[in-house]
Subunit: 465 residues, 2 copies
């Protein structure tokens, strides 16, 4: 039985030592230290020769650090990192992040280093994240050890997704892209080689964290498959768990063993198990970001009837196509609007608008018509989810449409997903919706897919009782 | 038998009259006129009362225009537009664009207007594009009647895609988004209600245009199904034809009739026919843009064996997954690198790199390793297509990687597709690759899908002999 320690001091440390902190710009130890300064936590740079780093006096030895350090980040090469981790553990530091690569992913010699690292938690009780990891990013604490560019930090945060990734690159690159248009993150964890802490630890931790509203995993292997599933089922009864399991094809599975030295396992087994244990499965990084962004912020949908509201008929047609041909075991349907709703829309819309679903208000629509139609759809019991198109090209639609839609979407019991596109301004509008607390996507296909996850979530909730 | 006139004067007019040109900003007639000024063509604004528009003296009546006008753009409301079109035709103007909506898509009265418009080509021989259309955008002539924002015009152009759309919004919004990262367009045509000119005319025209290297269509209905297919087959033997046929589901087909008053037809018939006649089918606007961007610029691939080059193992795993599970009737395979290639890569890569496919150079890779590996893959007869990852996060990879990759990709007989992602800089890097003439995408899934279209293209070429 695997026992999970309290990771509080990893996620919310009171003080941090950085082993290998340096004044030399471009060095990982410098970038991490500068990143951490934004947290305004007590920082303790450790370097054998340098006297100060960014205005902080350095400690020349780990042993001379104060006694109450919560977290050590080790930013030096593999061989010396093992020794440093041992000394940190011996000094009583409970949480250690080992950044360096060159361990089990790098062949026989690296594997020996990692085996030695693996003994430290057993001997001293300290926990290790990594090695070969970018570390973590906890927006609400301004805690960020990620030493590569990862998008707009302000836009990444402010939300409930705990994003846990076995590949640092995948996590960071995908989040960097997602965060350009807004993404509500509670925490990002790069698992690295998982010599100690692994997906199960963070599943448990963030499963208990009441501000986490969705858990998202990129995984290539499971270290405790059965326990992960059982734990996931318990958590899925309370909050969504989304997993991208890479290595699902033969070639992909073979690549996993080159990448992380692990076995990917049978893909069909994975699919069946995920379904049974309430895990929502996704297939690429874009889908992982989209699904978690949606599930963290919007309520589940206990019906599958979707209404589309658009000022551009073509997107109504394509949206209907996407809804009726959606794959992945969840059936979606185009809502049949009640006669009252249709009549209500007819009253305020233009004579050549289509008042059936998809509701096509045409390019002559104005802000008020969009808002009034949204009201009518929210009131219609035949509609479970609304996809609302925010286009800015129609002459009578202005910037004000963002607030017109947001004021109705935020806090609504019926999920409203915004599809917006406007040439070079698309990302900017998505950011504005995000800042208002509204979930939006730049494609009709991705908007429909987001709806699918909300329906799937309700099916899981029912199945788990 | 439908006879197609020479559309030269529509695409490359020598002079243009704008009916409804006005100094009143925000009016469609003003925006179009200002857009057209960039073409530096002789322009003739027509307005019953205004004396000048943007420094050009106006004509108060169509009849007082000079005799040799090639193209009239009518930017006034539906009812008056019909009369104006008649007068333009009577005056001998061979090409007419009717912008206004409010025709057959708007009910009985509008249908009467459209019926009258439809008689004009028969009576006078002039051709009409529209009504209810954004018109056209021909980058190489700086000819642009599109009165809504549509991305970076400079980035849209410079390529071989003729993009013909039955929905103006879909075309413009999708292109606006695509053009932010670069898109090589020869021409954009908004078909509108197709009262006269339709997809068949432009299929024929751009099929003959030797600078068009790919035709892309968004269509909700076919006006001359059989002829379109037969013509497409002839053209597909020379250049790719990609079609997004919306209204493929029951609800989508029903929405088509609301949107454009047409019948969408049976979807299964469409799939079968497309395959038989060499048309490449896509399912949403992003895919239409991606496929046409790729097919217009890269050679077909007579083999399906793909090599992936990455400094981030996770993307190698996901890429392999995408390759082995690609749908849509085209089978892709992970290339098995020759022993010589593997040995060659081993010589210059780091000890813990994976020299099999996917080639994972790890985050310690530098520009030269990426370039040298690309050379090795280009030389390997077991490799048909290369997906090359351009990441900028690894410390030894610099900006120079763009040229390192571009110098090898441009003009290569073996298609090279770039996958790039770097947080907020992603679009900027995609633009730089585009400016170098390299096809790139911000997701591994879209990169693999692009490869699929190149393999499908070769299958079509073989089948058409």
């Amino acid at each position: 039985m695997k026992i999970t320690s309290d990771l509080q001091k990893l996620i919310s440390p009171g003080s941090i030592a950085v082993i290998g902190a340096t004044s030399k710009k471009d060095r990982v130890g410098h970038i991490i230290f500068e990143n951490l300064m934004r947290s305004e936590l007590p920082l303790f740079p450790v370097h054998p020769r340098e006297k100060e780093v960014s205005g902080y006096a350095t400690y020349h030895e780990i042993e001379s650090l104060p006694d109450n350090i919560d977290l050590a980040i080790i930013a030096i090469g593999a061989q010396r990192a093992v020794e440093a981790a041992e000394r940190c553990a011996r000094h009583g530091i409970p949480q250690i992040i080992v950044v360096a690569g060159g361990f089990s992913e790098a062949g026989t010699k690296g594997k020996l280093f990692e085996d030695r690292l693996r003994t430290i938690p057993k001997m001293f009780g300290s926990r290790i994240l990594g090695p070969n990891t970018l570390g973590l990013f906890i927006p609400h604490n301004n805690l960020d050890t990620i030493f590569v560019e990862h998008g707009d930090r302000a836009l990444s945060g402010g939300g409930g997704v705990a994003f846990i990734s076995q590949s640092g690159s995948v996590g960071v690159e995908a989040l960097g892209l997602a965060s350009n248009t807004g993404y509500g993150m509670r925490a990002f964890i790069g698992l690295g080689n998982k010599c100690d802490l692994d997906e199960l630890d963070f599943l448990q931790y963030f499963g208990m964290d009441h501000k986490t509203t969705c858990l998202a995993f990129y995984l290539e292997s499971f270290d405790h498959g059965r326990m992960f599933l059982e734990q996931a089922r318990k958590i899925a009864a309370k909050k969504p768990v989304v997993v991208l399991k890479a290595g699902r094809s033969k070639a992909g599975a073979s690549a996993v063993s080159s990448h992380t030295g692990r076995l990917a396992g049978s893909d069909q087994v994975v699919t069946g198990a995920f379904r049974q244990f309430g895990i929502q499965r996704v297939y690429d990084d874009e889908e992982l970001c989209d699904a978690s962004k949606t599930l963290a912020a919007l309520p589940p949908s206990f019906g599958n009837r979707i209404a589309i509201l658009t000022p551009a008929g073509g997107y109504g047609v394509m949206g209907a196509d996407h809804i009726e041909t959606q794959k992945g075991g969840v059936k979606l349907a185009m809502a049949t609007l009640s006669p009252i709703t249709q009549e209500r829309i007819r009253l305020f819309s233009l004579p050549f608008a289509s008042c059936r679903n998809p509701v096509d208000l045409t390019a002559s629509a104005d802000n008020k018509m969009i808002g009034d139609t949204l009201d009518a759809l929210l009131d219609d019991d035949n509609v479970d989810i609304i996809i609302c198109t925010a286009f800015f090209a129609p002459p009578s639609i202005t910037d004000g449409i963002v607030d017109e839609i947001s004021s109705r979407a935020v806090g609504s019991k019926k999920p409203v997903i915004v599809f917006t596109q406007y040439g070079p301004f698309t990302d900017g509008y998505l950011r504005r919706f995000h800042e208002n607390g509204v979930i939006g996507f730049p494609s009709i296909g991705r908007s429909v897919r987001a709806a699918k996850f909300l329906v799937e979530r309700a099916i899981i909730l029912k199945a788990l009782g």
